[in-house]
């Protein structure tokens, strides 16, 4: 056991080890995004479907809290480790070139830390808005449906009817997908799961996945603002 712990510490202190942690936690978060989006798209099937889906999730507190804690741990590890990598990287470079030139690094790859920071702010806001329900009345009796369940449908409609919230959501989704467009293929690179033969497919899948997440998630506030969901 002690030996395994030692091996992990050795692994984590290496540059590759830290990157593998970023990749694995990133992969978990990428997976969550799809599940979360598919669940929320039930809003298009009407109040009954999405409210019963939410009630079903809450009927398994152990699973729900296990997933929440696991995701938060991944989120925290992902951020903590990347910050450590960024600090090390700045130190390694030392002086900067007077004449700056970029050959092939993508815009997304060069702004990961900035897109990441804005995504953190968004996640905090998003959790306070719909999960903790801070500074709103989404926990009140007005948000109980006829079956006595929490009225998630009404909460989403009201939440996204406020234009600034929807705009911030869409802006954050755009940044998230910008972040993913580099992150998705990076997972395969870092975990040693790519060759030149598969690289084209992996990159294309990354762009497609990012686009699906963007369109799927943004369809909700857009439909609410357009009045298609009431």
């Amino acid at each position: 056991m002690n030996l395994t712990a030692n091996s992990f510490i050795k692994f984590y202190s290496s540059s590759i080890g830290k990157k593998v942690i970023v990749a694995i936690t990133g992969l978990a978060l990428i997976g969550f995004l799809l599940g979360h989006m598919v669940g929320n798209l039930k809003i298009f099937a009407g109040p009954e479907k999405i409210n019963s889906y939410a009630a079903w999730l809450h009927s398994m507190p152990l699973v729900l809290w296990g997933a929440r804690i696991g995701l938060l741990a991944c989120f925290f590890m992902h951020i903590f480790t990347t910050v450590m990598l960024v600090i090390q990287n700045r130190r390694s470079k030392g002086s900067r070139y007077v004449y700056q030139h970029t050959n092939k690094a993508s815009g997304a790859s060069r702004t990961m830390i900035w897109s990441g920071i804005i995504i953190i702010c968004f996640v905090i806001y998003h959790i306070l808005h719909f999960t903790v329900r801070f500074a709103n009345d989404y926990d009140s009796s007005a948000y109980i449906d006829t079956m006595g369940r929490h009225d998630v449908y009404k909460m989403l409609i009201d939440g996204f009817s406020w234009l600034p919230a929807s705009l911030f959501y869409i802006f954050s989704m755009a940044l998230l997908c910008w972040h993913l467009s580099h992150g998705f293929s990076s997972v395969f690179q870092t975990l040693g799961l790519r060759t030149d033969k598969t690289w084209g497919l992996i990159k294309a899948s990354g762009y497609a996945y990012s686009l699906i997440i963007f369109i799927g998630n943004c369809s909700i506030p857009v439909s609410i603002l357009a009045g298609w969901l009431t």
Partner: protein
């Protein structure tokens, strides 16, 4: 050709350097970049100035001695070439050219454009030996190696250890260099017995020298004079991960 050169001048590793401007004229188009610097240096010496210090040796693209970051690109613009293979005809008359050293903490500047790349030597050293049969000479081709493996090992072995990968990386990561060295020896049966130890030791030494972490931007691949592929970095990640797991359970 008439050119304006902005050159990094630095007295020694402890001094603070700065860009200095040199206006040069009558540079022949057919001169190589290093020959252009030779001409400038001759003029500087004749006028009692301090010549610009830069690294060079074979001047045919195989030794890995020449460096220089030209207009922000290690070895200058041009696919798969070293600075000594870059010719002045690639520039236009009247152009301003920025010449800087390979910048990275593990490559401290010794003087002007010359950097100390011995950190690479220590990484190679940490890779250790390959086990070979000693005694009587081994028959040629007695150890069959599949063509694909031989080709991959040779592709990796073309790395000349110039350090352009580190210089181009915004994190000063040496992953392309280390991955090429690991791939070279670990792809062949001769390097197989020490495979696990080699990858762990080389990555550890790379970290110890203070090289940064790869952020998968592939700037290294774009500037490598020997066109080493970033695919090898992915392979290095896999080999390192496997080695650590093996180490933990054995």
């Amino acid at each position: 050709m008439n050119l304006t050169l902005k050159v990094w001048r630095q007295k020694d590793s402890d001094s603070k350097g700065k860009m200095e401007t040199y206006v040069v004229s009558d540079i022949p188009e057919e001169a190589s970049f290093l020959e252009m610097l030779d001409i400038v240096n001759n003029q500087l010496i004749e006028s009692g100035g301090d010549p610009i210090t830069f690294d060079h040796d074979c001047r045919e693209g195989i030794c890995g001695s020449c460096s220089l970051t030209i207009n922000g690109v290690p070895h200058g613009k041009g696919k798969g070439i070293t600075t000594c293979q870059l010719h002045m005809r690639k520039f236009s008359d009247g152009e301003t050219i920025y010449i800087e050293p390979f910048r990275a903490k593990p490559f401290p500047i010794l003087k002007d454009l010359m950097v100390d790349r011995s950190s690479f030597d220590r990484v190679i050293e940490s890779g250790g030996y390959v086990s070979v049969r000693t005694g009587s000479a081994v028959d040629a081709n007695s150890m069959p190696i599949e063509k694909d493996d031989a080709d991959t090992a040779f592709d990796a072995a073309t790395c000349i250890g110039c350090g352009a990968c580190v210089a181009s990386c915004k994190n000063a990561s040496a992953m392309l260099f280390v991955s090429a060295k690991v791939k070279h020896l670990n792809s062949l049966p001769q390097g197989a017995p020490e495979k696990t130890k080699r990858v762990v030791n080389m990555v550890n030494q790379m970290d110890k020298e203070g090289f940064g972490n790869c952020t998968n931007q592939y700037e290294c691949e774009a500037v490598c004079p020997k066109s080493i592929k970033a695919e090898f970095i992915s392979d290095l990640n896999r080999q390192y991960g496997t080695a650590i797991v093996k180490d933990a359970i054995s």
